[in-house]
């Protein structure tokens, strides 16, 4: 039975979504969210939902009951009484923690940034299947017995054989009458995706720049994971040479060498060739760098991109985390005209919003 309060609960969630949407730009630039992400849920601090009242400022104490000397600490970890509701630490904000599924968060992201839904490349050879109980058969476990059909069969048989007595309508099914539900496997095309994250970890990539990369990657993950059932993520770091690493190393490694971007592109291309056939996989490649490349390496990068990577992938994105004006790698890439190529400058956290729009706005 539907409860009348569910209408109120729905309205509440609607308001929460509205608040998140309105403040999405702030959330996107906020590193806090990464730590709040679980396997399926992300907990989001939403300001200004609770109704404000005139009330006293921070309740700093009260009356309690129990043992202990003066000066003894009381109940660690629990909010002592006196006030009601959590107090926000920012002026003008009363904060409520709301849990959203990643799916919901992706939807909000999509609606607000007006991102087109991704049409996965149709892949016929990668298939999952789904089991549906649609048919009937004469044998099967008793747990699957179809009562109504069995009854009907028994009734039919008894009518034909003349053993049905309308004044005493007792129906006794025998083994031949019994019908069981049976299942069929329905093939279902399933699309899988691989995300390659490539990052420059040369000496000039500071912590701050890596943080920008990490935030951008968080939102890209959220969006792509909402569209594909299986998403594999591979991480490649490079300075003058490239290697594949795990997620933790990716964000924390520090190297001190120079920069040769082509090394990363080559490695990425090699992995694709060896492991992921472009016919079967939706491939996404994201590269982040501060754009300082060895001058003579640029031509090589363009070659690999044009000949190898771009034809294979759904999308290739380059994000440049550099806030000093000058001539950088992004200018080199912009010579390349390809609709699968997306370029964005991410100077500060607020640029991430637009970068995501550029990257994912193509809908590939």
């Amino acid at each position: 039975m539907a409860l009348s309060i569910e209408q109120d609960a729905r309205r509440f969630r609607q308001i929460v979504r509205g608040q998140i949407k309105r403040n999405l730009r702030k959330y996107i630039a906020n590193r806090e969210l990464i730590g709040r992400r679980g396997k399926e849920l992300v907990s989001i601090p939403v300001p200004q939902i609770d109704l404000p009242h005139f009330r006293f400022g921070h309740p700093r104490g009260g009356v309690g009951q129990g043992e202990g000397e003066v000066g003894a600490p009381i109940g660690q970890g629990q909010q002592p009484g006196g006030g009601d509701g959590p107090a926000g630490d920012q002026p003008g904000e009363h904060i409520l923690e709301v849990e959203l599924t990643l799916q919901e968060l992706a939807e909000i992201l999509g609606e607000e940034l007006e991102l087109p839904r991704i049409q996965p490349k149709s892949k016929n050879n990668v298939e999952g299947s789904v089991v549906r109980y649609t048919g009937l058969r004469r044998v099967g476990p008793e747990g699957l017995r179809h009562f109504k059909r069995t009854y009907r069969e028994a009734l039919k048989r008894q009518l034909i054989s003349g053993s049905y007595d309308p004044s005493n309508p007792v129906i006794i099914p025998i083994r031949e009458d019994k019908r069981y539900r049976s299942w069929r496997n329905y093939p279902r095309p399933e699309s899988n995706a691989v995300i390659f994250y490539m990052m420059d970890v040369s000496g000039s990539m500071t912590e701050r720049k890596k943080e920008l990369v990490r935030l951008t990657a968080f939102w890209i993950d959220t969006w792509l994971q909402a569209h594909y059932r299986n998403v594999t993520i591979r991480y490649i770091v490079h300075d003058a040479a490239a290697k594949e690493v795990d997620a933790h190393t990716f964000y924390h490694i520090r190297e001190a060498g120079g920069t040769r971007i082509s090394a990363a592109y080559e490695l990425c291309h090699r992995i694709i060739q060896q492991e992921y056939s472009p016919e079967e996989w939706n491939l996404y490649a994201f590269h982040f760098s501060d754009g300082e490349n060895f001058g003579n390496d640029n031509r090589r990068c363009l070659n690999i991109l044009a000949q190898g990577l771009l034809p294979a992938v759904n999308l290739f994105c380059y994000g440049q985390v550099q806030n000093v004006p000058g001539h950088y790698f992004i200018e080199t890439l912009s010579q390349l005209k390809d609709e699968k190529l997306a370029l964005a400058n991410i100077r500060v956290a607020n640029d991430i919003y637009d970068a995501i729009r550029i990257f994912l706005g193509k809908g590939y």
């Binding site: 109120d8 006293f56 009381i74």
Partner: protein, 496 residues
């Protein structure tokens, strides 16, 4: 109602428990019990005990919170009861038989309290129907004016719903409604003493006369003001003077009515729960408990009265106070002779064999509210026995610490927490501030500053209702500086 009626077994139990309750001397509204599963229980709890409320998201928010906490096993609502005639009470279907017994005994305590405690005397005993009426009226307004419009207005009203005068129901603060015809201001005349001419400057000194004249003029001006005296019932002031559409007036009126209905429950939290716990312990241990139920009963009872260091458990404090009162009046440990006795040992063994305890607790449950209850009956011995303390935040060590076990301090803090529901007292002082139709409120500062961000947001809501700029005068920095927070069409501002 959407609950199930009681099983035959529980219906019989109810009859038995009701008989015990009468035997104990309780005088209660008839009680209707309903069985609910946990989902419906959460719904009713989110609706503050009522089966139907007007549509509003904050109920949904509370419902989500309760559902989540229930599914994590953090809480379990045992009992809920509403002040109505007949009294409605809910039982959780999945509870054990002995729990239901305990809950029933507890509920009869509440029902007796609702009926007899004077602070509940003014409440509408048909509130169940009234709430349903409110719900259907709000639904109608939503259908007519749109969800967002009505909801925004409700939000604004609800954020002000603690600006009532909880004592107004018992006193007449001002002449009944209706404005008198405006008279021409009478000329101010100062009465003077009859005096011989040579005594005149001594009996009627001119500076005194001048001062009197000023005071009278001031009083006359005050009378012309709006409101004539500072008005604590801000909601009433808004109803009478804010430019509201009829539907807005109706909604604000509903919110105010509900606020007054719920107010006594806030005023008597400790007494109400204490009394119900006192009743259930008496009924259970004297009559109702079977030997095989003892362990379960003891377990659940002690869960209810468990002590948490960081807050006062109203069940525990109330129960112990009632027991203490009963014990003291049985022994005759009250009155001037007892008060003056300085010998601790003699005080402890004091026994005049008066046996007035039972009579006294019944009287106390009738005429006190929490503030009076604590003020009158919380003794130094009691505070020591119950290990009460005050705690404060030690910013040096970043934790809450026990700050004192001093009796006066404990009592002062406890009373402060209970006064005006632990909310600031705010009054309308001028409804035509600066002769510009602006609203001027004053916070009566008593040592604690307002939460400024909350105050500013609340002012915004007040501005929504009043339609002209609104101001709130308060003190900041621990009461050292006066500040005026304002809100007008350009947004919030501060003057200090």
């Amino acid at each position: 109602m959407n609950g199930l009626s009681l099983s035959p077994e529980l219906a019989t139990l109810q009859e038995t428990m009701e008989a015990y309750a009468r035997e104990f001397g309780l005088d209660f509204f008839p009680v209707r019990f309903e069985m609910l599963d946990y989902r419906m229980m959460n719904q009713v709890a989110a609706y503050e005990g009522f089966p139907v409320r007007y549509p509003h998201w904050r109920f949904g928010m509370e419902y989500e919170r309760l559902s989540k906490s229930y599914s994590y096993g953090l809480h379990r609502i045992y009992e809920m009861v509403i002040n109505n005639d007949p009294c409605y009470a809910y039982l959780l279907a999945s509870n054990h038989y002995v729990d239901q017994k305990l809950v029933m005994a507890h509920v009869y305590g509440h029902s007796d309290f609702f009926k007899n405690n004077l602070w509940f005397a003014h409440t509408n005993r048909r509130m169940l129907d009234e709430m349903a009426n409110h719900a259907s009226r709000v639904r109608r307004y939503i259908a007519r004016y749109g969800q967002d419009t009505v909801e925004n207005f409700l939000d604004a009203c609800l954020s002000l719903d603690n600006l009532i005068d909880p004592h107004a129901v018992a006193i007449q603060r001002r002449p009944a409604q209706g404005r008198e015809e405006a008279e021409d201001p009478r000329p101010v005349t100062v009465r003077r003493f009859k005096a011989k001419e040579y005594m005149e400057p001594f009996l009627n000194p001119p500076e005194f006369l001048e001062e009197q004249r000023r005071r009278l003029e001031e009083a006359q001006k005050q009378e012309e003001r709006l409101p004539p005296a500072p008005e604590r019932d801000v909601l009433l002031f808004l109803l009478e003077h804010a430019p509201l559409y009829n539907w807005q007036y109706d909604i604000l009126d509903m919110i105010r009515e509900e606020a007054y209905y719920f107010a006594p429950q806030g005023q008597t939290k400790i007494m109400n729960e204490g009394w119900a716990s006192y009743v259930h312990t008496q009924i259970m241990t004297r009559w109702a408990l079977e030997p095989n139920e003892l362990i379960d009963y003891a377990d659940h009872h002690s869960g209810t009265v468990a002590v948490h260091p960081g807050r006062i458990n109203p069940y525990k404090l109330g129960l112990e106070l009632f027991r203490d009162i009963e014990d003291r009046w049985n022994r005759g440990a009250f009155g001037p002779e007892y008060q003056e006795c300085q010998d601790l040992e003699a005080r402890r063994r004091w026994d005049r064999q008066l046996g007035l305890g039972r009579e006294k607790v019944f009287q106390v449950r009738r005429i006190y509210n929490d503030v009076g209850f604590i003020d009158e009956f919380l003794t130094e011995e009691f505070a020591r026995e119950q290990r009460l303390f005050t705690f404060d935040y030690n910013s040096h060590r970043g934790r809450y610490e026990i700050s004192s076990r001093d009796f006066q301090e404990i009592k002062r803090r406890l009373l402060f927490q209970l006064t005006n529901f632990g909310r600031p007292i705010i009054e309308v002082v001028d409804g035509n501030y600066g002769n510009r139709g602006e609203l001027y409120l004053v916070h009566r500062h008593e040592g604690l500053d307002l939460d400024v961000p909350f105050a500013q947001d609340t002012l915004r809501n007040l501005f929504t209702l009043w339609g002209r700029p609104v101001h709130l005068e308060t003190k900041i920095q621990g009461g050292e500086k006066t500040a005026i927070f304002s809100h007008d069409s350009t947004g919030p501002s501060v003057l200090n």
